[in-house]
Symmetry: C2
Subunit: 347 residues, 2 copies
């Protein structure tokens, strides 16, 4: 009964996150007539009646996904909801409900959970979603938060990672890299605090970076704007792991290549200043930093006129035939193969 039934040992790290879930779910097929889209996109799509529901779920773990020594619980609750809503919007859908399960060890008093739920309530109010389920339980270590988001989209309107065509334009919303730099500021202050707990640092110059890290927003406004502009992206994804990783997801699932232009990547001035201070390459931060929760999508060239000049959008490249591969065209006009480095590139 207690023998080791797994004599073969393959290190999980040898597969990587995306390889792992693909491997584990390779034999699962969709049998239900209501299952439209399963594993492998930002969210799943289910067809109930004439509307489609969209489902996305995320498990956040203290010490892996967040550090309570500098993340206020209210912000954590807010962010846990927002990152899930972002996946729903990335399907061109509107989020409608969430469920939240929380587990905590006995070091947390009720007031800590109240703060967390204040943040959850705040996100629910701002994004107009209802909390409809979930539970609380004990954990052996730290805090765990599992959020499932549900949304809806009219049949035919969902946008997948698959769908980009060669010559489509690659568009990103907002600016990139600030969330990662915000994390660098917080990590540095944590070290300072360890040495001198009485130090009260002035972090006001980093307020944009910190806000992007601690209290990110999901781009519900963009989904509404695209509808108003009558632009239907050919493919879409949200930027949680970093620009290069997300571009490669679009390329792989759409079976296309891509040319990304370094000089086009939108950077906030505080990101450029912060990169100088931390001695980081700002393009690398944008490409690999992640957690920006902006939307990355492709549109047909015909739609360019509709988005041209809108400050929400930046065209950063175009898709190519698959055989051409995915490349970054640097400011020096060198062509580099795009690689999904995610966080690893910066560690």
């Amino acid at each position: 009964m207690l023998e080791d039934k797994s004599p073969k040992k393959t290190e999980l790290s040898s597969l990587g996150e995306f390889g792992l879930i693909e491997h584990l779910t390779r034999n699962f097929s969709l049998e239900q007539s209501t299952s439209v889209k399963g594993v492998g996109d930002d969210a799943a799509i289910l067809q109930f009646g004439d509307r489609q529901s969209v489902i996305s779920t995320d498990l956040l773990i203290e010490g892996i996904h967040f550090d309570l020594s500098y993340v206020p619980l209210k912000h954590l609750g807010y962010k846990a909801v927002v990152v899930n809503l972002s996946d729903i919007y990335a399907m061109n859908a509107m989020a409608t409900q969430i469920t939240v399960s929380v587990a905590v060890s006995n070091r947390f008093p009720l007031e800590a959970l109240e703060e967390l739920y204040e943040g959850i309530a705040s996100a629910c109010a701002i994004y107009n979603v209802d909390l409809v389920g979930g539970d609380t339980s004990s954990s052996t270590k730290g805090m765990l938060i599992s959020v499932t988001a549900i949304g809806e989209v009219e049949k035919g309107n969902a946008v997948y990672r698959k769908g980009a065509k060669a010559n489509d334009l690659l568009v990103v919303t907002g600016d990139l890299g600030a969330a990662y730099l915000g994390l660098q500021v917080l990590e540095r202050e944590k070290e300072v605090y360890k040495v001198n707990p009485k130090n009260q640092p002035d972090l006001s110059m980093y307020s944009y970076l910190l806000e992007r890290q601690l209290k990110p927003e999901a781009r519900k406004d963009i989904i509404e704007l695209l509808q108003k502009l009558e632009v239907r992206p050919t493919s879409m994804i949200d930027i949680s792991d970093g620009l290069s990783s997300e571009i490669l997801h679009l390329c792989k699932q759409s079976e296309v290549g891509c040319n990304l232009f370094e000089e086009k990547i939108p950077l906030d001035p505080t990101v450029i200043a912060g990169c100088e201070e931390f001695n980081l390459d700002s393009s690398l931060v944008a490409l690999s930093g992640g957690e920006d929760y902006e939307l990355l999508f492709t549109i047909g060239q015909d739609d360019y006129e509709k988005i041209k000049g809108n400050p929400n959008f930046t065209v950063i490249g175009h898709m190519t035939e698959a055989k051409e591969g995915a490349h970054l065209i640097t400011r020096a006009n060198t062509k580099l193969k795009l690689e999904a480095q995610g966080w690893n590139a910066l560690n």
Copy 2:
């Protein structure tokens, strides 16, 4: 930034699981027109088009909800799915999809996750549900599994915890207490193993008890049977925490009382024998043991003829006016107040 923002400290244990989630969600209201039923039942109900979707979610934590020293990973995967499906069936709905998120520390090799997903696949095949989403990530300690189940039900057919009327009959499916006794056998064998790892115990006499604990089934068949018999329960819940706790949920939400007859509680002969061996009271085990995943429901007296004599069902009591309270009528004809002891009663 790093100061303690929660000077008030209230121990979570002072509220209990049900009190806690009620407290934390007391200020959340349902604003979306598609939100039919939120927190506080076995599952949430959403209205998309003419069909209703049902959503339930559960977070399982190693060391809290399962012990990998005696639970095979394949069974764990199976059970993690089944306990969520049980919540969907408890709404009189059919489960259609699940999402699964798993986090593991680096002590787990790929083969361990493969075993877990074998069990998940097996449950998906047997209950005819599709895995449509989820992810894998790292944990700082042990294994965590978060499952969200989605189902559907025709408008007007969902059965809530609320709805029982005075004089309705209280009905339970299958038999109770075996899952708890199975756990006792496993805990005992774990202690034996610690002393003598080479001991190969013969557990064949406990096979029913062990199966109920390690590989429980959800009562999809009962939902199909009730439909065939044209019986629509007035209220329903699944038995995860123990009979007495679930009865009190029905009473509270339906605003009724209850008389439960000890002599009517269905017990398998192996449960009676096991209770003698472990020196436990079999009624207490059935009332407080939990994890049986049977269905508990109420029906109008007019429906009695339809279920009479069916071996799947046992009438164990009847509902009363709320002011009469909830009571256990013992074999000695004593009337005891029913209390939600859950696991605590047996620890």
